[in-house]
Symmetry: C2
């Protein structure tokens, strides 16, 4: 792993010793004479449970054939990514999730871990793979039964059968239950008639639809015997071997997008297209030859959510890919900030390295802490996913927890990806705007991650509703005394855990002995208490405001809910942040090396304090922090940033990206060479006695 | 102007009357039975002082030849934009700023106003025009003298002489004073030798450098007689008529960028390139044949800043262009949000229009208020610019105020452009990610606005230093009694005005009689007091913390300044926000129509309250708001959003964009047609009695 962890061009500590007076602390752990992190151990922790698969994927994409070429015209980019998918097939990249009898490996966690790493090569590759194997392939596998698997899975794995996942419509995205496409059973011919009744019901934004898809898994309202049994999924052939649409099928290209232009997104519509009855993917509902509908799941609502839940892996993998992409941007920006100089400090002749500026630390280091939290929380999410999908822990409760966890984490990590990548790009100035330095394309490609696979705000609202539901459950059968106790808030912490939320006070070891924050009352356990209390209080407040809803007419109840929508989303976000914090803390607790533990504790504190700072007004208004302690939060973040500054390079190198993953020239050491060359030029000029004197010094002299 | 203000496809109010129970207030002013804005009057106010020029420019760019083609390969895009520049020349677009004797119009304010509108066609067109006439042309005009004007201005205006503005280097951007390129005078030949001593001193990111520039205005350290007189500007021919570099000149293409790919940005380097002595643009400093340096400005620092200040127009125009682009994104997103439906409210059969969701209002309406503030503050900036550059108010104080104002406003509006465009794109879901709907390209193109023409953080730091300087001036010669009075804060408001800040209590009429916010103590004059106090308190606090610096060794003083860097930038931002608020309030006060005044007052309040909410923790920690009143801020924003919701469409239509400016299909009325078609389909189905029954209703029936 030596080639992964250490970049040859990393400037050595001695090169970075300031000549002039440095405005801040040492720049490396060595200079600081502090315990430093065990980089390999941290890399292993960040790579997480499926580190072997991640390393395998990273090794594969060192081949330039997988790298995005910025500015490549759309048509060429699409062809290139299709070719990359074929190479994945040849290299174990498409079969990990599927059953062994079709050539698969039945390893769900490893499958997502491997896919996530592809974001380092080209996000279009990651997402087009996700369309083929994670959505289209998964629909056949998870929603279909053996006859479907036998018929199509091998060709799906081998890419002989590229397909589209036709769920979203122009008129319906997040609200899948309301899609307009119909699949009406015709018992005469034992066929389903797939039909698009109006323009808004065109399938839209589908990868593989514009060019490469030979078939699609089409979601439609299943109608038989005059009854609509709700959304089901159908396998529908799209194109013949020459690539022409089959009769009754039409479509168009979505054209240029904000990013991910290596994927051929497009629209599809169906004019009474007939498919055999067997093409209904019938794991959760079936239609007999005579048109009789049957399902193991009686409730239409539960059946619908069970089907959707079988496809949760898209959200799970976006959380991971967004985290990895964010880490890449931070690696580039922090490496550059450790080499690039700008303005002298007024204290010496040397210009100041960017990362020595307090503002620059403030811009980048809390985000570094955030991405560490995300790596750890993502690994937890992935383990939960693997548990459920391997069957080991496949219970309704675990499934529900998994879906809630994914819905809480995906919005946070994908939004943070955009914010952090943007901050990194700005922190690199003009260099950051050049495509060669990666960050602009990362932002453009990841942009849609915040609205696809579930719009972030809609997902958080789902989480919020789950939190409200869990909250309400605490009171089922509660007697007056219980309610009174709750009302005075004494046992709120004990009666309410929230979805996926740990038992308060558990799983969080007091790190007080090593943390230096004790003096401020903002150490680990205080952070946890503040973060957890906020979730509880917000949910409880919203529940209180919504209580009258059950007695109101439907429209007034809807209006009341609407009034609380923004706060509910905010509560869900707070819940997700708490989960990230807890995952980070668990990871710190698992650390054995003392130096590593110390640095990661500071980083975890920086994460926790940054969360407190973001919501400081809430803590003040709700009396959870005094104005004095609230004032201390920002100062403490400043101190933590300065304290972590010497470790920043180690912490980004612990991501374990090789030069083939980073690729950005500004993080290659080229900037350090430029700085060294300029410094050497001026030094030689001074030594030669040929340096021009400055007008200013001349004026000073003449005044004397 | 009827064709500008009213879009034919705007849904009429009756079409939007909800069938089911709507969760919120009326959706149009008509429905609300409220006074509505006089749209034409608001359009005129937003277009501002140079509205005729803006309308002329908008008319010109209705021609599709000026429109950006998303996905166009870089080479074609560059050729297209060059061709567009030629069309501008033919249509009055290049001569407004220049003297009449060279075919110009000598109308500085109109010139920038006209350029700013080009952002609606293609930001590459706006910026490439800016490079040619605003930077290269301005350098010759503002830094050169008559001999230079005679020689080059006509060809610059006509584009026969396309040029690059070669200031920034790979190693030095914001710190122009430290650039590495040298211009060493050789009295033997009466030439300057332009030279690039090392890689970091390559000129970089220069528009027109990669392909089209025949010459460049090159900034270099002027050295004569062994003395460095600091940065001066030189006219340097680059290419021969075949487009080949002249001897000694080299360069390379910057390649693909995050946006603005219609501009041929590139790098240049010089190997002892000789230019005649006359090629020094010598308005502020000259070298005689014998090598003697002379300047009207003795202080090298002041001379340097005077030269840079002559080029302030770039920043001024970015403030305007960013504001217009932001308005465009809001027009698209709010129009779509008024047509697109998603989820039923649980109260009726109809799905809910996006803008009826409280969260959606929260996402978009405060940003609508923000962009209104920016239009008004930009017009003030432009008037100040025109005053100085026309000579009418060209005093050192006015110049300094102009530069400070530009440095305060440009960062706020360009950052807000990125945030708002992103929010708008997300608010449109998958549609927002399609290039045809404009927002992704607006974000990509405007991305670099936050770091070029002065990095935003660096600019705000300049503003912060100015505020500190003004603050310190109050105490020059102050006696102990004055200081004591200041210390107890009684007269702080009177002794400290801040740069560009109005006399407190002036220029702000109490709007209490119409504002309904009186009950909360958050009406107009309170907003002003809170915003202004914050600037003063922050500056005063920082000044207090920096006071020991003068007695410290240089390195410790630098460290102390560094510790306060982030807060200084924050104080500058607060100052800019106050200026925007004041400009908005002035505009409201000038309004005569009662309905308009009412709606704009709500909008101004929404802007003011949003600023308070953003900094709520500060107000609490500093005792400026009680927790009770702070809690009221967010609730009041919710109420203002709901109150403004029926006016949202009017307020975006008042931007006055024609369909040729908007172009986004989702804002064309196509979405309304899709919704109407779907609604008609279901209505007809219900009427026919052929609608399938839902499984759920069937189950309910069978249970009975």
């Amino acid at each position: 792993m030596a080639d992964v962890a250490v970049r040859s061009s990393t400037p050595s500590a001695d090169k970075r010793t300031p000549e002039g007076g440095a405005p801040t602390a040492p720049r490396t752990a060595a200079e600081a004479h502090e315990a430093r992190i065990d980089q390999d151990a941290v890399t292993a922790a960040l790579l997480g449970t499926w580190r072997e698969t991640r390393l395998e994927a990273r090794e594969l994409i060192k081949d330039p054939i997988f790298w995005q070429k910025p500015g490549q015209p759309m048509a060429e980019h699409r062809a290139r990514v299709l070719e990359q998918l074929r190479l994945l097939v040849d290299n174990n990249g498409s079969r990990r999730a599927f059953p062994t009898e079709y050539g698969g490996l039945e390893d769900n966690g490893a499958n997502l871990a491997g896919f996530e790493e592809l974001v380092l090569a080209d996000p279009s590759l990651q997402i087009k793979s996700g369309v083929q194997w994670g959505l289209f392939g998964s629909a056949v596998y998870q929603l279909g039964t053996k006859k479907h698997h036998d018929k199509w899975l091998r060709d799906i794995i081998s890419l002989d059968l590229p397909g589209a996942f036709a769920m979203t419509e122009t008129g319906h995205g997040s609200d899948v239950a309301a899609i307009g496409t119909t699949a009406t059973y015709d018992p005469e011919t034992e066929e389903f008639v797939i039909h698009t009744p109006f323009r808004g019901a065109w399938k839209d934004y589908l990868g593989n639809a514009a060019l490469h898809g030979k078939a699609a898994t089409v979601f439609a309202q299943l109608i038989t015997g005059g009854v609509n049994y709700g959304v089901h999924c159908f396998f529908v052939p799209l194109r013949d071997d020459t690539g022409e649409f089959l009769p009754g099928i039409g479509g168009e290209d979505d054209g240029v997008k904000g990013g991910l232009n290596g994927i051929d997104n497009g629209r599809l519509h169906f004019d009474h297209v007939r498919v055999p009855r067997e093409n209904l993917l019938n794991r959760y509902g079936d239609v007999a030859a005579d048109g009789t509908y049957t399902s193991d799941i009686d409730s239409p609502g539960r059946r619908f959510f069970t089907m959707l839940g079988a496809l949760v892996q898209g959200r799970v993998s976006l959380d991971g890919a967004a985290t990895t992409a964010t880490a890449l941007a931070l690696d580039i920006a922090i490496t550059y900030a450790n080499q690039r100089r700008q303005f002298d400090s007024g204290a010496g002749t040397d210009e100041v390295v960017l990362l020595d500026y307090a503002k620059h630390q403030r811009r980048l280091l809390p985000r570094l802490a955030q991405v560490y939290a995300q790596f750890f929380s993502h690994d937890e999410l992935l383990r939960k996913f693997d548990g459920v999908f391997s069957g080991r822990t496949d219970t309704p409760d675990e499934r529900e927890d998994l879906e809630t966890l994914a819905a809480a984490l995906k919005p946070l990590s994908t939004w943070n990806a955009l914010e952090t990548i943007q901050e990194c790009r700005e922190a690199c100035g003009g260099q950051g705007f050049l495509a060669e330095n990666r960050m602009v394309n990362l932002h453009q490609d990841l942009d849609v991650y915040v609205t696809f696979e579930g719009d972030n705000n809609v997902l958080l609202q789902l989480v919020g509703k789950r939190l409200l539901g869990d909250f309400a459950k605490q009171f089922k059968g509660a007697d007056a005394a219980d309610l009174a106790r709750f009302a005075i808030g004494q046992t709120a912490g004990k009666v309410f855990h929230g979805a996926g939320l740990r038992q308060l006070g558990q799983a969080v070891t007091d790190l007080g002995s090593t943390a230096r924050s004790v003096e401020l009352g903002l150490r680990g356990d205080h952070q946890h208490e503040l973060l957890a209390d906020r979730v509880q209080q917000m949910v409880s407040d919203i529940a209180g405001r919504l209580r009258p809803a059950s007695k109101l007419p439907a429209d007034e109840a809807a209006a009341l809910f609407n009034e609380n929508q923004a706060q509910l989303i905010e509560a869900a976000r707070a819940h997700g942040e708490l989960l990230q914090w807890e995952a980070f803390t668990d990871a710190v607790n698992k650390t054995t090396d003392e130096g590593t533990k110390q640095v990661l504790t500071w980083l975890r504190d920086l994460f926790g304090l940054s969360l407190l700072e973001r919501h400081l007004a809430w803590y003040l208004i709700n009396g959870r922090l005094s104005t004095q302690r609230a004032g201390a939060v920002s100062r403490y973040i400043d101190r933590l940033s300065a304290r972590l500054r010497p470790h920043a390079q180690d912490l980004v190198e612990a991501f374990g990206f090789a030069p083939e993953h980073v690729r950005a020239p500004i993080a290659s050491g080229a900037e350090q060479e430029r700085q060294d060359e300029a410094a050497a030029f001026f030094a030689a000029q001074r030594a030669s006695g040929q340096a021009p004197v400055s007008e200013k010094s001349l004026q000073k002299k003449s005044k004397k």
